[in-house]
């Protein structure tokens, strides 16, 4: 026995099964795309007790909207977009209700991490403290690019904006981040060691026009 599991060879088969209301396909979709959603949501929110809530919200949105998805090849980017917008929504809601229940960066729970635990832990706290000061759209672009480690084109697709807009947001976010990081010892020290915020490596998008464009 191979576990008796249902296999969907590609997203086209999976989406077709979801359109038919196949319940097993839902399980497969969650199993297949949860790591992607987790990476994006965790990158946006950091070490956060609400990550599972947000991931759940993303998949609820996926199941509710799957019938509107006509092009199965777009499934991955569509899910990424839902993850980005759901995470951004959670950040915005927190900002509005910060005075009541915002988890202050100082309250970020202890987390076991590999390597230099104390140093990394401090860097994580400081990073999200700085990110909390950034405008939502810039914060999302920054976290997708540098923490979730997406390509520029993927960031643009997930945020549903042009590549130029993403570059513009990233440039602003990087500047704000570097400026604010100087106020945090855990980040300042590593800045002071001679490194500089390096330009993102060329991922095939550098020749694209960087003029300001309207968002789609």
């Amino acid at each position: 026995m191979n576990g008796g599991v249902v296999a969907y060879n590609d997203d086209a088969e999976l989406v077709a099964a979801l359109h038919r209301g196949d319940r097993a396909a839902r399980t497969v979709l969650v199993q297949r795309y949860e790591p992607l959603v987790e990476r994006l949501v965790a990158g946006a929110l950091g070490i956060d007790s609400e990550i599972s809530d947000v991931i759940q919200d993303v998949f609820v949105g996926v199941f509710e909207g799957i019938r509107s998805l006509k092009d199965a090849s777009a499934l991955r980017s569509w899910i990424a977009t839902l993850a980005v917008f759901t995470a951004r929504g959670r950040i915005r809601r927190r900002r509005r209700w910060r005075w009541i229940r915002f988890l202050a960066p100082e309250e970020v729970p202890e987390v076991p991490v590999s390597g230099p635990q104390g140093e990394t832990h401090e860097a994580v706290r400081a990073t999200y403290r700085v990110l909390d000061t950034l405008p939502d759209d810039e914060r999302m672009a920054f976290s997708l690019r540098f923490i979730s480690e997406m390509q520029l084109t993927e960031v643009a697709a997930a945020c549903r904006v042009s590549l130029a807009t993403v570059k513009r947001r990233l440039a602003r976010a990087e500047k704000r981040f570097v400026d604010a990081a100087k106020e945090h010892p855990a980040l300042r020290e590593r800045l002071a060691h001679g490194g500089r915020w390096s330009a993102p490596e060329n991922d095939g998008a550098d020749d694209v026009d960087v003029e300001v464009e309207g968002e789609s």
Binding site: T27, F63, S114, S198
Partner: protein, 446 residues
């Protein structure tokens, strides 16, 4: 590697690592299952609005019944990238090459390693009964009010509330092992007059309880702890003298610590203890079964981020060198990581060197040997050699950019100017736009 881009990589690793360690997938699947269930019930109830007043009243009563009636939990079977709903009584066999996960709608999960066999005996609103037929399963039960979960293995019953543990069953020898990661369980069965409570950091083992013996005799129980203090309990027929070692074929249950415990406690209500001399310790060559159990234990602890306990477990239950020669590449590297994280560079080096020798394509082994030399031994000439070796062997490896950067940094720290220039040239060749490109250019120009 000290710029903010590196910091972001560390942040990314910490954040993603935290999410992975929390193993969110089962929880998410259980939540979605529960929502789905609620949704289906809501659809049933909304259908009643079209009925007559009398019908609507009846429907409302039905809805109330549905809402008030406890619903049995369900489970999904996951494996090899696909999944489906599971049924009570269905025989579940994990495939040869991958684990099989059972995700229950109450958020609990049972993970079966390759070849493990089990079936779900019963499902109700409070939990499930899973019958273990062969192998070691990892069990994670979400605690809720009135949770009633049970793992059955032969004539043994492991009652669970909310906890994480590994349960192993060898059908041939009728041997049970329960290794607690969190919480507690109660075990009943042959050799146990009353339920034996096993708590975090303990392991219960029964061995030698053959079916023939069980049928013929009332069993004798021997309980040993890590300090080889032995307790005995005779049940039914007269037992052997306390000094006599337990016959191999008779059931033996032993509780041993899986983590450093301040004091060994054996549940008094389960077993009458008798001290049995200073030591009954004897050297036992671990059987493949025992080794598999031991490996499952440290892997489980490692997966839950309990690195210190995982390392202790790996060191206690098997010979480190032997493990490094026996296990697969991922496991050997994990052992190395555990030792590195816990600042045991000697052990880490043994593991990474074994991985490098046995799995020549395991680029992480070379890189991490370099990191050990750089971070913990501060042996910069050695670190430079190791990072240089990485770059030569894996110029397009996933860690090539970090390796060539650290080669440069190690050479500088070692005062090796020629080496630093070589590293800089290699850096510019492979990563002309990398974060250390300007530093490398300056070095090459000098």
């Amino acid at each position: 590697m000290s710029d903010l881009e590196t910091v972001m990589r560390d942040v990314a690793r910490a954040v993603q690592g935290d999410a992975r360690r929390r193993q969110l997938l089962p929880e998410i699947q259980a939540r979605l299952e529960a929502l789905d269930e609620q949704s289906r019930q809501s659809q049933h109830s909304y259908g009643g609005w079209r009925l007559s007043l009398l019908g609507a009243a009846a429907c409302a009563a039905g809805i109330a019944f549905l809402m008030l009636r406890p619903h049995a939990i369900s489970y999904a079977v996951d494996g090899a990238g696909a999944g489906r709903s599971g049924a009570v009584g269905e025989r579940l066999v994990a495939p040869d090459a991958a684990p099989l996960a059972l995700h229950f709608s109450d958020g609990s999960q049972v993970t079966m390693p390759p070849h493990a066999q089990a079936h779900v005996d019963a499902l109700d609103a409070q939990g499930a009964t899973v019958a273990l037929e062969e192998g070691t399963v990892e069990v994670s039960v979400v605690h809720r009010a009135h949770t009633r979960w049970e793992i059955r293995a032969g004539r043994y019953h492991v009652r669970v509330t909310g906890t994480k543990f590994a349960a192993g069953w060898d059908a041939r020898t009728q041997s049970l092992t329960v290794t607690m990661h969190e919480g507690s369980v109660e075990v009943t069965g042959p050799g146990l007059k009353a339920p034996a409570r096993v708590v975090t950091g303990q392991r219960l083992r029964t061995t030698g309880a053959t079916a023939e013996k069980q049928a013929a005799d009332e069993p004798e129980v021997v309980v040993e702890d890590a300090n080889t203090v032995t307790a005995r309990q005779e049940m039914g027929t007269p037992a052997a003298a306390p000094e006599a070692p337990a016959p191999a074929e008779e059931p033996v249950a032993e509780l041993a610590p899986t983590v450093a415990a301040p004091e060994r406690t054996v549940p008094a209500r389960a077993i009458n203890e008798h001290r049995n001399g200073p030591s009954r310790a004897k050297h036992v060559v671990p059987t493949p079964f025992k080794l598999a159990m031991a490996d499952a234990e440290w892997r489980g602890l490692e997966a839950h981020g309990k690195f210190k306990q995982a390392l202790e477990s790996a060191l206690r239950d098997a010979d480190w060198n032997e493990s490094c020669q026996r296990l697969g590449s991922e496991d050997v590297l994990k052992l190395g990581d555990l030792a590195r994280i816990e600042r045991r560079p000697d052990l880490a080096e043994t593991a990474y060197r074994a991985a490098n020798r046995r799995f020549p394509q395991a680029d992480r082994a070379v890189y991490l040997l370099g990191k050990l030399a750089f971070d913990q031994r501060k042996d910069y000439p050695a670190a430079a050699r190791l990072f240089q070796s990485y770059v030569k062997r894996f110029p397009r490896g996933q860690l090539a950019q970090q390796a060539v950067g650290l080669w440069l940094e190690s050479s500088e720290k070692a005062g090796d100017n020629a080496g630093a220039r070589d590293a800089a040239a290699a850096y510019l060749e492979i990563f002309p736009k990398g974060p250390k490109a300007s530093q490398a250019r300056a070095l090459v120009r000098d």
